[in-house]
Symmetry: C2
Subunit: 354 residues, 2 copies
């Protein structure tokens, strides 16, 4: 059994009482930190950084050395699964991730198989174990995966930042093929997250970065359905501890009710929804994580504190809120702004927990 | 007084009874049409196409010659106003629009003035008059403008497709400067739309393409507020006819109630919201325009008809619905798909109007 020195995050995700609102930041180990850029330069490139457990541990720990964050999150790439499926992940300089062999042909799609995380993704599990050791039960470690739909976007388009034409054409013209890809991918994500839990992840999060580009009905059928499938197969306990789960669909504010029924413990919110409205709609079922616009961190300490206070006040009294940004922190964020944010959440939130 | 042969669109926008659901497509005069590409090649470049009333008329009319659309929409660029303000609009080959002199310095911002549409945007008004003549009262002509926030995104970022870092930094750090830009731009849009109405536009639409990137409260303060300001200053009648107005915020599904109170006659919807839900929330106040995912047009005639029927059925019986895509038609759309769509809307919608 673990004895966490600070388990505020886990309690908040399970809607248990806490003394203050816990906070972490999506992409908290990232390019806005000069020490991250130094490690990355030593690693050579981004994939080497992800695939080497020593480097992954080092960058995971960096934001925790600077800030009193309430959680660590595994440093890894969102595309480890399609990479392990053999699609040939690579990073072209100055561009995002790409695949050498995007999924287009039925034959290739039908021969897709779920990778064995103990074999093909062992480097991730090694990183999880090593980070847990290094963390020494200071704060919990969050594991994560992309959602099946989000992974499929990259797998079919071959890269990010597209108009989603390839995947949407398949969705409307050959839904059977897309369902096949999503089904294999959902199995893979389930195995992957369960392996992370067995290796030491104390909470897990599913990032549905692209679900918001779907129509209301396509979202249910092609994104949420497969996240439900994962949640059904997820280990809910490990070493006698509950493992809370978070689902985050960027741009999913219209669909909160159905996401809250997916079986997750908490919902991630982007900044387009008022958290008071979100709590009113689904707060009886799930905890909420969010939802400051990351661009607020480009402003002054006073404005950052004001915007933090607005969200805390909108959420209101009681537990069930994990403070976070509504999306990953920008690489252009001054590191002092993150410090202001974290300290503001801790000091301003105490009055809502008494 | 005009005697329109087909005024179905205008009646639907005003929630008056119609015999079927009218339909048009955002960006219906565009690159998916081979005849458009030919005219564009003759014009030399995109700006010459926009600035020459003969060419603008020609491409506005092209989709009406192919399809039984219920409206024409002025062919023009969304960035005519910032261009007239002197920001130096240009199109780099293979990239989107850019400005030579994006707004960053306070001095430049304070010296911004609203262009006189009769002088600086005369080419647009000439196009409107000429299109009206060519249309010969067949269907109504829709005039349009970008929303102040959307125009400000381009004016401050200097181009589209960015992370909105410059405008959001200004929004949070120097809201006074952004309000100044938005105020001048809102005055400009009001004058511009009123000049279009005087030149013959029979309905107007405000495209808030980027409002959806804002937080719920920033949307109210920096986007919706200035669209309200425009709607307050808009001519509601011309030549004895009501001029209906449409507001479309892409990604604005969470905010429909407040948009419906802006003073517009109709709301544009993207495909992320179920139109039944939208009607339930705001259908007592406004007409609704939308909301097929443009990617449906990459599929088969059967699937296009099925998806059209779903939306018609979701909206249900009675007037107040203008069928449209949830965003501009893709340049990769087969022109036959647009034909299938338009015919499906006309034939399948009759039973909902009896």
């Amino acid at each position: 059994m673990t004895k966490l020195k600070n388990d505020t995050l886990l309690r908040a995700l399970l809607k248990q009482p806490t003394e203050y609102t816990p906070v972490w930041m999506m992409r908290q180990a990232g390019r806005y930190l000069p020490e991250y850029n130094k490690t990355r330069a030593r690693a050579g490139d981004f994939l080497s950084l992800c695939k080497n457990p020593d480097f992954a541990t080092e960058v995971t720990m960096q934001p925790l050395e600077r800030y009193s964050l309430d959680a660590a999150i595994l440093f890894s790439d969102i595309l480890t699964i399609p990479d392990a499926m053999g699609l040939g992940l690579y990073f072209a300089e100055g561009e995002g991730p790409k695949f050498e062999r995007p999924l287009r042909e039925e034959r290739e799609i039908r021969s897709l198989t779920a990778p064995d995380p103990a074999v093909h993704l062992k480097y991730v599990m090694d990183a999880v174990s090593q980070i847990r050791k290094t963390l020494d039960n200071q704060v919990p470690l969050i594991g994560f995966s992309g959602s099946p739909f989000t992974l499929a976007c990259y797998m079919i388009e071959g890269r990010g930042g597209t108009d989603f034409r390839q995947i949407k054409t398949m969705l409307y013209k050959r839904p059977d093929l897309l369902h096949h890809i999503l089904n294999i991918t959902a199995q893979s994500v389930t195995d992957y997250l369960n392996a992370q839990i067995e290796s030491g992840a104390q909470a897990v999060m599913i990032f549905d970065t692209w679900g918001g580009v779907l129509s209301h009905s396509a979202y249910q059928e092609f994104s949420l359905r497969y996240m439900k499938q994962i949640l059904t197969g997820l280990k809910r306990e490990h070493d006698g501890e509950r493992i809370p789960s978070v689902v985050f669909t960027k741009g999913g504010g219209l669909w909160l009710e159905s996401i809250a029924e997916s079986g997750c413990d908490a919902l991630g919110l982007d900044w387009t929804i008022n958290i008071a409205e979100a709590r009113n709609r689904v707060g009886h079922k799930v905890a909420l994580q969010g939802n400051l616009d990351p661009a607020v961190l480009f402003s002054t300490p006073e404005i950052i504190a004001t915007e933090v206070e607005k969200i805390l006040k909108d959420y209101g009294s009681g537990s069930g809120h994990v403070f976070n940004l509504g999306h990953g922190i920008s690489q252009f964020t001054p590191p002092e702004s993150a410090l202001t944010l974290i300290n503001a959440v801790h000091s301003l939130s105490k009055k809502y927990h008494s």
